[in-house]
Symmetry: C2
Subunit: 211 residues, 2 copies
């Protein structure tokens, strides 16, 4: 009923369902079937039902799921019933794009601190924040109660940045540097590697048989 062992891909699908539910709620629908969710989410109805059933029985047979209530439940399941404080390390091009992106705030994620090690960057005012010296991370992290870290430094610095984040109490890291980070057990790490995405497209184009 509750959480035994949920696969990473099942969690990602929940995020997807949440977005579809938002759209349905906005459109004024009060109930959705697993078929509706599946169609808009690009999965099968059975998959939707199985994913949701891991966390409880939210639907009514013959009717479907109540949109508003299911949205609340999935929000809760994903841990989005609160706001999360994020620390951004690397005040470069990608760091700026992420910081000035509004979408995250809407989902409950607030960038609460920015760090860099370049004297030219340190002290710059970014919106309501000031770029901090990475040397003062420990102090800043504790006062701003940051819980997640995003790494957007060059690959060579990424491991030491990760170590610092962990030392400052961060337990979840999103890494954009194209390098494999080593983290102790208990720390959650996700990598976004755009080079791998492009290479996977190159592979697909190279090996397409039909089409």
């Amino acid at each position: 009923m509750c959480p035994a062992k949920i696969s990473e891909s099942a969690v990602r699908r929940l995020s997807l369902y949440l977005r579809v539910l938002d759209a349905f709620e906005l459109a004024g629908k009060t109930t959705v079937s697993s078929g509706d969710l599946a169609e808009r989410g690009g999965v099968t109805p059975a998959q939707v039902r199985k994913d949701l059933s891991h966390f409880g029985s939210f639907g009514k047979r013959g009717l479907g799921y109540p949109v508003s209530e299911l949205r609340e439940r999935v929000t809760e399941i994903l841990g989005l019933g609160r706001r999360w404080r994020v620390g951004l390390v690397g005040a470069g091009k990608l760091g700026a794009a992420l910081f000035f992106y509004d979408g995250f705030r809407g989902q409950g994620f607030d960038v609460a601190a920015i760090f860099d090690n370049d004297p030219d960057k340190i002290g710059q005012r970014w919106g309501r924040l000031v770029v901090e010296d990475i040397e003062s991370m420990d102090r800043v992290m504790r006062t701003s109660q940051v819980e997640m870290g995003i790494i957007v430094t060059p690959a060579v610095s990424a491991q030491q940045v990760a170590d610092r984040l962990i030392a400052s109490g961060v337990e979840a890291i999103l890494n954009f540097a194209p390098t494999r980070l080593q983290v102790p057990p208990g720390i959650t790490l996700r990598n976004v590697n755009l080079e791998i995405e492009l290479e996977s497209l190159a592979f697909a184009l190279t090996h397409e048989n039909g089409a």
Copy 2:
């Protein structure tokens, strides 16, 4: 021996091995074992051998794989033995970060055109390129022979941008907009959804039992 059906995750691991091979070659090693590759890639030796065996026998028993030759072979397999021309749609914050990032060029990907629909953006000079009107995509795409598209427009425009890209002959799309795109069979689509990444971190932090 050659390609039957390679799983998406196996392809992504090949990209990983390639990076590890680069490092080994730089370090002057001439041969590597599956164990070496596995350690540096964060997978098991058996996985490495299985992944590679889908495409042929590149190693010598008792010895390992010749670094330089394996690197060439994997490069070839991934379709990276040539350069790829990429079209970027959306000259915004993320588009700029991607365009001015050097890493892609090093892997064989060249941004050959940038498009936007904002009159203020159209005509801007970005490096050696000029931001083009999306209305002239068809013409520009053909003259610059673009093969892949990257979508970094707001979500509401993403589907129509995808349709245009496909109409212009693009068969592979990397989409950063947080929306599920519909593409016909034969078109390869990869999504990068940073909100899902953050939400998956939130889920992990919320449901961590031990630690």
